[in-house]
Subunit: 390 residues, 2 copies
Amino acid sequence: MTKVPQLTPPRRTLLGPGPSDVAPSVLRVLAQPTLGHLDPVFLEIMDQIRSMLRTAFQTKNPLSFPMSGTGSAGMETCLVNLIEPGDRVLVGVCGVFGTRMVEVAKRAGAEVVAVEGEWGRALDPEAFRTAAAGREFKLLCTVHAETSTGVSQPVAPLRAIADELGALLLLDCVTSLGGTPLHLDDWGVDAVYSGTQKCLSCPPGLAPVSFSSRAQEALAARTHPVQSWYLDLSLVGSYWGTDRAYHHTAPINMLYGLHEALRLVLDEGLEARWQRHALHGRALVAGLEAMGLAPIVPEAERLPQLTAVRIPDGVDDARVRRHLLEQFDLEIGGGLGPMKGQAWRIGLMGTGSCRKNVSLCLAALASALGAEGFRPRGDALAAAAEVYAG
Amino acid sequence: MTKVPQLTPPRRTLLGPGPSDVAPSVLRVLAQPTLGHLDPVFLEIMDQIRSMLRTAFQTKNPLSFPMSGTGSAGMETCLVNLIEPGDRVLVGVCGVFGTRMVEVAKRAGAEVVAVEGEWGRALDPEAFRTAAAGREFKLLCTVHAETSTGVSQPVAPLRAIADELGALLLLDCVTSLGGTPLHLDDWGVDAVYSGTQKCLSCPPGLAPVSFSSRAQEALAARTHPVQSWYLDLSLVGSYWGTDRAYHHTAPINMLYGLHEALRLVLDEGLEARWQRHALHGRALVAGLEAMGLAPIVPEAERLPQLTAVRIPDGVDDARVRRHLLEQFDLEIGGGLGPMKGQAWRIGLMGTGSCRKNVSLCLAALASALGAEGFRPRGDALAAAAEVYAG
């Protein structure tokens, strides 16, 4: 085998759907010396992570900690712990991640009823009631921020419906945590999972989760063992709780990264951070529209941290993204599922949500589209500047 | 909430059962800029990881890559992918990790037959044959390097028995990979999982796995979906293979770490690395025995990278380990399961397997034991030096 050289990854600007740009201090702490997973200093770090996570989620839930896997492992954690074979589960589907919840819930033995909606639109709460058709459900699941389309799903109205169905309310907050308002306790959310590589600006690898006391009661009342040993909350919770019982060896250095990422979130303040994401998202859309690119999601349902735009006719998706990467070290995302080749997804997440990146993205896109023969309708940078001028 | 300061973990010497000391260049690459999970540069890094992993495992298996979780996720990956409900599985148990395999296999729906043996001893291959009692089995599972006791299990004899039972041979190599000889193809191993935080000297967080063509046929012949979507090899394999199909967002920076860790393993050479572990393990045991501490595992069955010693009567386990940590920034491990409070586990793994650490460990232990009123029988450092003198 040829000798492999030490790696020297280029410094990209990551404006795709995640991983997002990582804050420099988060990268630095990753390289701090590894501690044992039962070291008293590390146990203190764990407690600080739990406490900061509760603030970020706006909850008092004691059962709040990061699972040792990516956001998808967080989804599986919630579903396999809350579902027992034969449980009825209602899932809102208007993108890849709703579809995935259906798949994972089925593998956990649930009888799934999907509430299908148009991709690129939020789901009508009434559609959940209709699909439920008066039956009782164990869980009502929906995606708060659909990473495949950039749609924001209003959550509060779903609580009333979950109550009618006798259901726990489960939320996918992979792309919302740290980017847009999230109030677990006020909204009455029972279970939630997220990821580190979106608006927390930490590399991928951990899945923050949180469970209400009602969800904890459901866990305690289980009559079947959780099918996953690795993701079994009663075991993982013993390590993160006061027992400190060894379960698996925690991903120490990744947890350093999450600690620092959460610290930056709270240092900035949640409100300020949400407003920052809102501002730069608006500026980006103004620029894109000025160029003549059409956002897919109507304004009221749009996530500021992730914008899906339609690829203009005659423009080659792959060629544009290669141009951005090769000429500008800039990554944006392609479409997923039915939107493959039809849309780009541009993320302004966490530390990456800033004026510099909005300008870079608009300038680079103008260059790439120019190479495709696409003529921008107007001045994108001026349109963005107008948003900043208020 | 009180403001949380940026973390500054102390620099410990990690001589427990893992995480082990991390090589400085591995820590450094963790802090390299994050790439997108479909970036062409990252795809090349993935290919290099797969190729280096095959060499480290001594296999040609195309299906060799790291799963996005810790070693325990690797165990679950192997079991949930290879087991279908009702499959009969034979598991060797002489420590915590064999016990855990039984538990995980049961949760995957297997009918498990455990081959129980004494903790601290290798299992007699004949015991597998006896327990099988002439029945057919889907899987024969055993732990190659039992992290709870420091026992090395001879694997080659188990292949013949697996053949008699019509079984695939599954191996836990969490603690052996990169530390002691491992020859997947020569030994006829069908499935294997490992971790990064032992003899690879990388932080915890990834689980290298590998599957033979026979195991791949079993995967392809499944009639039930794999119960875990996150760990489903047909999906994860599509991303690591030529399809590059998005499944979950790979833990980019942790994979940088594994890349560098594997590079260091191959740079040193497998034979040289195995010999290094053997040498320092022998020196440590010589020193411990000279002090009057008794290794738990007989010499022929002992892992050089992990030594379990009996805690002398009248010596307080927790107090000694606190002394080591507070006075020497040195971590060793306590006993697990029935060995809790009865044994210490001292790891000399990966970059941590060196003469400096052997001396530090013996000197620090002498200090801690002295504080307990324990009088060493003889000169530990001199005994270790004799081993080094050949």
